[in-house]
Amino acid sequence: MRILVVEDETQLSLHISRALTRANHTVEIRHDGAEGFEQARSGQFDLILLDINLPNMDGFTVLRKLREAHIHTRVLLLTARGEVGDRVNGLKAGADDYLTKPFAMEELLARVEVLGRRTATPNNETLLEAGPLRMDVVHRKLTRNGAQVALSPREFELLQIFMQEPGRTFSREEICERIWEREHEYDTRTVEIFIMRLRKKLSVSESDPPLIETVRGVGYTMKLPA
């Protein structure tokens, strides 16, 4: 994808740009609201990452003027302000998604992927499938080979993370971050306990290989039976 990053913090835009480039995207950077707007108006981008606090023209204004100029490039807002009002304002002004700083780069990449796919398929993945598992996200139900498996709320969320991206390896830290937004007493050990409980509920017999595997020194992954 061709992505425009409008972010005044040079170091941050550099890291973002490197991460996006590694994920095979083409990146252009602007550090100023007005310049960002000029660049975005060309319409040659698939996605714009837009900071809100920008010199010369703030992100909300850039977004509003773009929409007024009928530029409908998808926009992911980045902001340090986590207030609900900002989130609502951003989405009202026409943003497609919203990410608060600081964020995990993995999460940024995941959101970018989702926004990129939105043209083809709708984002509402309400039915997830992985091997013998079928997950109904709306009704919060899980079946294994058609038989219902009762999961606690957190176990369900944990499994959902794996089922959304089967085959990907998640670090304990990332899992922890995605389940508990705020830093708390919950740490990587908490994740280990939840993984253990989840494995127990998902396994049919002792001999069965676990669906969620430990990747030594990295984290966990969900392996799909060949």
Binding site: L12, H15, A19, E106, T126, V137, R140, S152, Q164
Partner: protein, 468 residues
């Protein structure tokens, strides 16, 4: 008395003063009037005596001693018919009014001057004056009933006048005080409007040039100062949010990049993971401090939506069980199948997480942790209780203070903001958070939130996007 309004106080003071003044006047006036009337009466009686002498007695010829001539009859003038009259000529009584009770009264003993006398068989006093003309000694008297009647009328007038005056003064006082205080009421309602919602509004400046005007001006100046302080505090929390979070974001992005580059040794990787965890910790701390700054500035606002507490509670229990795994805690939940509160689910989660984390931290090995929720009228009460030692009495008052660890031991981690934040959030919801008991058996906190009914439109269970 202390809780009375100023208006009532002023009217009651007026009333008391007026009543005292009227009673005082009455006490002074009654004897003076009586004295005055008595003097008039005496003058009147003396005039009667004088008239009697001049009209009748001048012509009186006494019978010579030894003479067979009948004594001359004295005929009273009409004006004196109703008086008691005794006339002596020399030592001889030549006239006495024919009143039965008056028959045997000897007035000579009274001596000259005016006298008040109680006649035998009379229920009221009488007044007599003695006058001496030539050889005639004249006593003229009358009953004092007339004076008593006047006094009674006067008293009656007072009995009517005092309550009437009291009523008039009370209500008049209220009316006056009300109109004098009406600028104050206007100021009060304006001051109530001035708040976080209308910080630009000011008190109405009255037209009159009086104390109220000066008070208004002084208050408006204070409001200006407060607003400036408030604005800079509000700007601070927005700026601080940006200023503090941006470097953390850079730090985090750099650490993520190191992690993803793939050539880290396992030990280096572990260090980076720890650093990432620290940036999360830093973010939470910054958010907590900003939340408190907002609460202090009165800007902590909750958008109250009806929320289903059931999934929130079961998630909290889920987390708590895992947190309590190490201490082998038994976690129980007692809650009705349906329970709705008005609030912000994210914020309620923060409150409950703080409470349950504490309940795990301060629990004993193999202890119990009980979460219960119920509806009580307009409120939902969620209580979180744990077994473990009691919080010492001297620490209970300071439990909800900032950075207070309540002497729970230095080896227990936490920044000492948890309970303070939880209480601020509970209060921002219109509810409260209190310590119910801590007696060595259970330590129990109760969170009170405004209750609500289930939303009419029963939408599909809210879709939780894990990545959000």
């Amino acid at each position: 008395m202390r809780s009375w309004s100023l208006k009532t106080k002023v009217s009651v003071y007026c009333l008391l003063l007026t009543t005292l003044a009227l009673l005082g006047t009455a006490l002074m006036i009654f004897p003076v009037v009586y004295r005055q009337q008595l003097n008039e009466l005496d003058d009147n009686l003396r005039a009667n005596a004088k008239q009697l002498y001049e009209d009748v007695l001048v012509k009186y010829k006494p019978t010579q001693p030894g003479s067979k001539q009948k004594p001359m009859t004295v005929i009273l003038p009409a004006a004196l018919q109703r008086r008691y009259v005794v006339i002596n000529y020399g030592d001889t009584e030549i006239f006495r009014s024919r009143v039965p009770s008056f028959k045997s009264v000897d007035l000579r003993a009274l001596g000259p001057g005016d006298h008040t006398v109680r006649l035998p068989d009379a229920d009221r006093d009488s007044r007599f004056v003695q006058a001496q003309y030539d050889k005639c000694t004249i006593w003229v008297g009358t009953r004092l009933g007339v004076l008593d009647d006047t006094q009674a009328t006067l008293r009656m007038a007072y009995w009517i006048a005092i309550p009437t005056a009291m009523l008039l003064v009370f209500f008049g006082g209220r009316l006056l005080a009300g109109s004098a205080l009406s600028p104050v009421s206007a100021m009060t309602s304006a001051a109530e409007r001035i708040g976080a919602n209308a910080p630009d509004e000011r008190l109405p400046v009255p037209q009159s040039n009086d104390e109220i005007l000066r008070l208004t001006v002084v208050l408006n100046q204070s409001f200006d100062r407060l607003q400036r302080a408030y604005n800079s505090a509000a700007r601070f929390s927005a700026d601080a949010s940006h200023q503090l979070k941006t470097p953390i974001a850079v730090l985090r992005a750099g650490l993520d990049e190191m992690r993803s580059c793939g050539y880290l040794e396992p030990m280096e990787r572990e260090t980076v993971d720890t650093l990432v965890a620290q940036t999360r910790r830093l973010t939470t701390l910054v958010e907590d401090l900003l939340l408190l700054a907002q609460a202090d500035a009165g800007r902590l606002k909750i958008e109250p939506l009806p929320i289903d507490l059931t999934p929130i509670l079961s998630t909290v229990v889920d987390d708590t069980e895992v947190l309590g795994d190490e201490k082998q805690l038994v976690v129980t939940l007692h809650a009705p199948a349906q329970l709705y509160a008005k609030g912000d689910p994210r914020r309620i989660n923060i409150i409950l997480q703080n409470l349950t984390e504490n309940a795990v931290k301060y629990n004993r090995q193999n202890g119990k942790l009980r979460i219960s929720a119920q509806r009580e009228g307009a409120w939902v009460t969620i209580s979180v209780a744990n077994t473990g030692s009691a919080i010492p009495d001297q620490h209970r008052d300071r439990l909800f203070e900032r950075f207070n660890r309540a002497g729970m031991g230095e080896n227990i981690k936490g920044h000492g903001l948890g309970l303070n934040i939880a209480r601020e959030l509970a209060r921002a919801h219109g509810g409260d958070l209190v310590l119910v008991r801590s007696d060595g058996e259970w330590t129990e906190f109760a969170l009170k939130l405004p209750a609500t009914e289930a939303p009419m439109l029963n939408l599909a269970p809210a879709l939780k996007v894990v990545a959000a």
